[in-house]
């Protein structure tokens, strides 16, 4: 069993036991909530795992390393930032993609940039954001967040 499994299962068991001891009804309600959330993401998750398994087979590590690896420089960085800003991939299922990229040779800085722009910048959802905040503010927020995301990517790359 992987480290992940051991850690998450232990935390889950300990928290459940404490919660159950304090309030049985609440604990069961929490289980139901958690299980429903899991059910909702299961299908998109499986679909993305299929896609990642396929891409890992089709795209050789050398290609990923060349375009998104440590030596890819500004080009790899810009690609990650641009793709992350424009696409709208739900957070949960973007992580298997990120992990796959790293496994295939992408650098932490590039993956961090991709992930942060994905989370913080939303070009596709900009019209919706404008309805709430107005044009100027929505665009300003996205531009500021884009700059922040690039800084975060660079810094994470330097730290790791």
């Amino acid at each position: 069993m992987s480290n992940n499994a051991i850690i998450y299962i232990s935390v889950c068991v300990v928290l459940s036991a404490v919660s159950f001891f304090l309030d049985k009804g609440k604990t069961i309600a929490g289980f139901k909530k958690g299980w429903n959330m899991f059910k909702n993401v299961l299908l998109p998750f499986l679909n993305i795992l299929i896609l990642v398994s396929l891409l890992i087979y089709l795209i050789p590590p050398s290609v990923i390393t060349k375009y998104l690896g440590a030596g890819s420089g500004v080009a790899g960085f810009s690609t990650a930032a641009l793709v992350g800003s424009i696409t709208l991939i739900p957070g949960f299922i973007s992580y298997p993609i990120a992990a796959g990229l790293i496994k295939q040779g992408a650098s932490y800085a590039v993956v961090a940039t991709f992930m942060t722009t994905l989370m913080m910048v939303g070009v596709v959802t900009l019209p919706l954001e404008i309805r709430y905040f107005g044009k100027t503010v929505a665009i300003t927020r996205n531009v500021l967040n884009f700059v922040a995301a690039v800084i975060i990517g660079l810094m994470v790359g330097i730290i790791l």
Partner: protein, 177 residues
């Protein structure tokens, strides 16, 4: 038949993949087998931690009084206010556009411009369920580094937006038009 297809449309990729995999094994098509091995590995990786993460999140959801935190957000200011909005954001789930209606509500309740933008920043990348998945897939070092770098930047953006919007009669609308 048509209604059957419509109802099960969301399973179409899964079904197609299952069919192709079976075919690959039947015909001895090697790439199909390799992809299936990749898939099994990532599936096992996922199924051994993600369901437990969601149960933890579910327990958080019933024990941490989100509504009570929300009530205090308009009133608290300074560091305490910042800590509260970040905490509230961390307890949420879902995509960023789900945070816009909450921003509207916080604005109506009197939260400062600064805190609303800090909320959006924290919502975008510090949600507990997502941190859980991130740690599982990319490791605790990655999450820690990313979080520690992000936090001051979000707070900075909050201050910047507040300064920028100070005399501009900034209003958040309910998104209806």
């Amino acid at each position: 038949m048509k209604s059957f297809l419509k109802k099960h449309k969301k399973y179409v990729w899964l079904a197609a993949y299952a069919a192709l995999t079976l075919l690959s094994f039947a015909l001895g098509f090697n790439p199909g087998k390799v992809v299936f091995t990749n898939f099994t590995q990532s599936f096992v990786e996922m199924i051994t931690f993600v369901p437990f993460l969601f149960i933890i999140v579910g327990l958080f959801d019933v024990w941490v009084p989100k509504e009570r935190i929300q009530r205090h957000i308009g009133q608290e200011s300074g560091v305490k206010g910042i800590v509260l909005v970040i905490l509230l954001a961390m307890l949420q789930a879902g995509p960023l556009y789900g945070a816009f209606p909450v921003a509207y509500m916080l604005h109506k309740k009197g939260a400062s411009i600064r805190n609303i933008f800090i909320y959006l920043g924290a919502f975008s990348s510090l949600k507990i369920p997502m941190l859980g998945i991130e740690i599982g897939y990319l490791g605790i070092e990655f999450s820690l580094a990313r979080t520690l770098v992000s936090l001051p930047l979000f707070i900075g953006i909050g201050y910047l937006m507040e300064w920028y919007l100070k005399d501009r009669h900034f209003q958040i609308s309910d998104g209806s038009q």
